[in-house]
């Protein structure tokens, strides 16, 4: 049992239910932080390395779906597993559409719950990795000079060195040097990798290039 399995935020207004779910998840080695109302949860929420939220739909004050919207609104990317007393299909569709990992009906079987929690944490890990990758790419991109950024833009748009030189009004050899610098600074070996990195960064969408 290691603490690296992740943290599960647990939200259920019934203290009995909260206690039971916490026991089950703790037995499986998860770190559990339980709350009986949404307000307290929002106030004490801190970003964890790896975490997900198990959320009861029917709660007084702020219900599960409202909390989901609120979290999205404030930019908290927390994979959510919903629990509900009665299987309400429109409600579950709404929740899944809004990004919920799963929608489980009470009484919930331990295996189903654990599978959903693991899936949620897996998604959290993926999100975490994606975010880390993007951050490193942005870091690299920020080191490029304005001229290099121009060259990169044309390269990923699929233009030849000669065309780029013509467009920018500089020598073809100089383009070659800039291009090598871009490849080096962005940490890629091939044109394909550079194009993927540019896509991640959201570059070049505006310039569809005529050949």
């Amino acid at each position: 049992m290691s603490a690296t399995r992740g943290t599960v935020f647990l939200l259920d207004d019934d203290p009995g239910m909260l206690k039971a779910l916490a026991r089950l998840l703790k037995a499986e080695g998860f770190t559990v932080r339980g709350f009986t109302d949404a307000k307290t949860f929002l106030e004490s929420y801190r970003v964890e390395n790896l975490s997900c939220l198990v959320l009861d739909v029917a709660m007084p004050e702020l219900n599960g779906l409202e909390l989901q919207q609120r979290l999205t609104h404030i930019g908290v990317l927390l994979p959510i597993v919903f629990l509900t007393g009665h299987g309400d299909i429109p409600m579950s569709v709404q929740a899944i559409k809004a990004g919920a990992v799963d929608f489980l009906t009470k009484p919930v079987n331990d295996a189903d719950l654990l599978r959903a929690v693991r899936a949620a944490l897996k998604r959290a890990a993926e999100q975490r990795d994606l975010i880390a990758e993007l951050a490193s790419l942005q870091q690299r991109y920020s080191q490029l000079t304005p001229r290099e950024r121009e060259v990169m833009e044309h390269v990923v748009a699929g233009k030849l060195n000669k065309q780029i030189a013509g467009n920018l009004g500089i020598g073809e050899h100089t383009i070659k040097v800039h291009r090598a610098r871009v490849m080096e600074k962005m940490g890629v070996d091939s044109l394909a990798d550079l194009v993927r990195a540019a896509e991640r960064l959201g570059l070049g969408q505006h310039s569809t290039s005529p050949r």
């Binding site: 009995g16 037995a27 331990d110």
Partner: protein, 609 residues
């Protein structure tokens, strides 16, 4: 045989006849004192009349004086009996006059019992016979008059004053005819007869004494009035019998049994109808104990206490009880009566009527049964509206039990197993199971078709029960519940299930009224209060509001719902009314939005600390 020997005996005959008639009446009637006094008076007049005749026929001074003495005595007796008659018959005379007038006349009579002189004459010098018309002769006397005689006439004069005074009072009191006829006749004829006698005494008028004829006129007047009394009494008796017959007819038609309980002799007189109602034979003797024996054992104590209380207070009472008939059937009787007290404030008897109310009681029981049936039906319908939430209420503990059990399985599979935690889990499982059992018990109670069971209840507890049932429904509808309940409330006497039903209905109605409101505005407020001996529960919403006349919502079949029968509130009201309480609605917001329903129930009195 002359006219004289005819006139006086005729007068005597008339007096004796009238006297005997009134004697008979007086002996039979109560009160008969006036008749007996009249009769005595008439006999005295008859004797007096005889004396007058004997005096007119006297042949020697000795004989004359002897009869004159008898004449004086009977004249005195006339004053006595006349005064007594007026005293009794009028009831308005002055006592001192009534005593003084005969007293003076009788005092004067003492002279007649002395050797010499006699009352009328100091000395009788002689008598002579006088010839008059029709060949009749009579005797007159000559002598020296006795001044004592004036005392006798003063008595007679006072008698006239006494009668006149009593007549005036009687006239003022309204018995004008009697005052005029008897008072007038006595005044006139005693004055006239007395004057004639006085003139004869003094030798101014040489005629026989004629007072008996004056008295005859008085007797006729008195007799007429007395006979009027008898005639009136006869009519009264006829009226009374007619009244009794009407009363009996009315009592028979209304199925009333009439009874009178003699508290002194402990005996109950009752009509045949009453005897039949209670199951007594026609001639059976009834007393309080045999009466109570006929009652249902459970009612005896209460009825007997009602009697005791009535005697101690204002004497009025009303009671309802059951009579156990010989065939084992029950008969409901309503009885009301009044205790009568004597002058000293001691209870003497109780008069009352009883009536068979078995049919009414049966109808009441039937209508109660139907109301309970309808209430039950409405309860089942209300609960079916809640079925989703109720399923959730049951589901929740089951879900907790499952999760706990599975957590325990995993904990026990570890090595070493966490036994302490497993023990905690088992304790929680037991608790959650009890919670589920409690939900089921509450549901069964609500679904049960039970008889009304009144017991002291805490209204706050009833509210708690209902809130528990509706909790998840409120959450599902996005309704926020606010409590404004007073902590300590006096208890109320009520049926827990029925009061829960009323609250459930009011809460669900409030929720339905808020279905169209924006989610943040859906507020339900439950409030309790205690004032003026009542406990009040208020259910407020800020939903669609009430019709302009809020009373309409309590009419049967008034509904705003697609699938409602519109009986809920009308049943709620009948339940609260049966609890001797009130249920009403009022608009809450200024803009006609929102409604508050108030329930007011009488608080049970409790000993203040």
């Amino acid at each position: 045989m002359t006219w004289m020997t005819i006139m006086w005996p005729m007068a005597i005959g008339a007096c004796v006849t009238m006297g005997l008639i009134q004697l008979r009446v007086g002996l039979r009637r109560t009160p008969g004192a006036a008749h007996l006094l009249f009769s005595l008076n008439a006999i005295v007049v008859a004797i007096y009349s005889g004396c007058e005749l004997a005096l007119a026929c006297a042949d020697s001074p000795v004989e004359y004086l002897a009869w004159l003495r008898w004449l004086d005595i009977t004249a005195g007796l006339q004053v006595v009996t006349t005064a007594a008659f007026v005293w009794v018959f009028f009831g308005t005379g002055r006592k001192w006059l009534a005593l003084l007038a005969p007293g003076l006349s009788c005092l004067a009579l003492i002279a007649d019992f002395l050797p010499q002189p006699k009352l009328v004459y100091l000395q009788l010098t002689g008598i002579r016979k006088i010839q008059t018309f029709g060949g009749a002769t009579y005797t007159v006397a000559d002598g020296v008059g006795n001044p004592w005689n004036a005392i006798f006439y003063l008595g007679v004069l006072l008698l006239v004053v006494f009668v006149a005074d009593a007549s005036v009072t009687l006239w003022r009191r309204g018995s004008r005819r009697r005052a005029a006829v008897i008072g007038g006749t006595i005044t006139f004829f005693v004055l006239a007869g007395g004057t004639q006698a006085a003139l004869v005494d003094n030798g101014i008028m040489r005629t026989p004494y004629l007072l008996s004829f004056a008295y005859l006129a008085i007797l006729v007047a008195m007799g007429l009035e007395l006979s009027n009394d008898v005639l009136n009494a006869g009519q009264l008796a006829l009226d009374l019998r007619e009244g009794e017959r009407r009363l009996a007819l009315a009592a028979e038609a209304a199925n009333l049994g009439i009874w009178i309980r003699d508290l002194v002799r402990n005996e109950i007189w009752a009509t045949d109808k009453w005897r039949a109602l209670l199951g007594f034979a026609k001639s059976e003797r009834i007393d309080l104990d045999s009466y109570l024996q006929k009652l249902h054992p459970e009612d005896r104590e209460a009825v007997s206490q009602t009697f005791t209380k009535a005697v101690e207070s204002d004497g009025q009472y009303e009671t309802e009880y059951r009579v156990l008939l010989s065939d084992g059937q029950l008969r409901w009787i309503a009885s009301r009566g009044r205790v009568e007290f004597n002058g000293a404030g001691k209870p003497v008897c109780v008069r009352g009527v009883s009536v068979d109310i078995t049919m009414r009681k049966q109808a009441e029981a039937e209508s109660l049964r139907q109301r309970e049936e309808l209430a039950h039906l409405s309860r089942v319908m209300t609960l079916s509206e809640l079925s989703g939430s109720l399923a959730h209420e049951l589901n929740q503990p089951l879900a907790i039990i499952l999760t706990n059990a599975q957590a325990a399985q995993r904990l026990l599979a570890q090595s070493p197993p966490d036994l302490a935690e497993a023990r905690d889990i088992l304790a929680d499982i037991v608790m959650e199971d009890q919670r589920a059992g409690e939900v089921i018990r509450r549901l069964r109670a609500l679904l049960k078709r039970g008889e009304t069971n009144l017991q002291p209840l805490s209204i706050n507890e009833v509210i708690q029960d209902v809130v528990r049932i509706t909790r998840s429904d409120l959450i599902g509808r996005g309704i926020k519940l606010h409590h404004a309940c007073v902590g300590h409330l006096p208890r109320v006497l009520g049926d827990r299930i029925q009061l829960q039903q009323v609250l459930l209905n009011l809460i669900l109605n409030a929720c339905d009224a808020m279905a169209a409101s924006p989610p943040e505005g859906r507020q339900l407020v439950l409030a309790t209060a205690h004032r003026d001996g009542t406990v009040r529960v208020s259910v407020s919403d800020n939903g669609s509001g009430l019709p302009p006349d809020p009373e309409r919502v309590f009419e049967p079949f008034h509904t705003t719902k697609k699938h409602g029968l519109g009986l809920g509130l009308s049943i709620c009201r009948s339940i609260i009314t049966a609890h001797k309480g009130r249920l009403w609605a009022e608009t809450r917001g200024a803009a006609g939005s929102g409604a508050t329903f108030h329930i007011e129930l009488p608080a049970m009195s409790e000993a203040k600390p």
